[in-house]
């Protein structure tokens, strides 16, 4: 299964990809497009990627999880134009028991956010557009390596629209 998709991602297909008779627990994370960011109303967004590296990095992350836990993992990240509520990313981890499935699923989605070269351009309801910079709580462009805070998402305003 390719880890990047320009077409809608269906969580059911990833669950099916990891489900086998001996695996009794499947943990699934589904990331969907949110309608707000740092207090602003988001109308839509576009994901872009350094695709050859992103594909390779996703494969490495999945392989690392499979080496660490007795799990089967599938993950896909959507690219291109998405609307509110569209599925952006799915991770499915299946194991004999739930503990390993939850641990692997959490580890993979955290690694995807930290390591996979994907970028998000948000289009706001007020007509402005910005690249999302999770490293910057002040809304400026740019950012430094290694200081990501997954719950401190904010935006860097690049230009104002009408």
């Amino acid at each position: 299964m390719e880890h990047l998709s320009h077409q809608p991602v269906d969580p059911a297909s990833l669950i099916a990809a990891v489900q086998t008779p001996e695996r009794g627990g499947i943990a699934v994370f589904v990331g969907v497009v949110r309608d707000h960011q740092a207090g602003r109303t988001v109308a839509r967004l576009e994901y872009s990627a350094y695709e050859p590296m992103a594909e390779a990095e996703c494969a490495r992350i999945v392989a690392e999880a499979a080496a660490r836990w007795p799990v089967s993992v599938a993950m896909q990240h959507r690219l291109g134009a998405l609307a509110i509520g569209d599925v952006a990313v799915v991770v499915a981890a299946a194991s004999a028991h739930r503990a390993e499935a939850f641990a692997a699923c959490r580890s993979v989605i955290d690694a995807v956010k930290r390591r996979v070269p994907v970028w998000k351009k948000e289009f706001y309801a007020d007509g402005t557009v910005a690249w999302v910079d999770p490293t910057d709580a002040d809304g400026r462009a740019g950012g430094q390596a290694g200081s990501e805070g997954p719950d401190s998402m904010s935006s860097s305003l690049l230009r104002s629209g009408k």
Binding site: S48, A56, V89, V112, R114, P117, V118, W119, P134
Partner: protein
């Protein structure tokens, strides 16, 4: 008899997302004096690209599809990418 070795290398620099917007280019070839590191690539990109100084001095970087550091070596023919803050998921 002495031979002065001033070898140079060529690397393909890729820019993405906000960095590509800042400098108006997604791909450029740079010529560097060997031996070179990612830091040398960043320094030259900031010096020669239009508005290159708007790229951070210490950006995330990748060499040949693998995350690298500023002191990672780069060789002739390498693909070096400067990565704005990642925002997937």
């Amino acid at each position: 008899m002495t031979a002065v070795q001033t070898s140079t290398i060529r690397v393909r620099l890729l820019l993405f997302a906000s960095y590509a917007d800042l400098v108006g280019q997604e791909s450029v070839e740079l010529v560097l004096r060997a031996p070179a590191t990612v830091a040398d690539v960043v320094r030259q990109a900031r010096a020669v690209l239009p508005a290159g100084d708007r790229i951070p001095e210490r950006p995330l970087a990748a060499v040949n599809l693998l995350h690298g550091k500023l002191d990672s070596p780069v060789s002739d023919g390498d693909e070096v990418a400067l990565l704005p803050p990642l925002a997937g998921g």
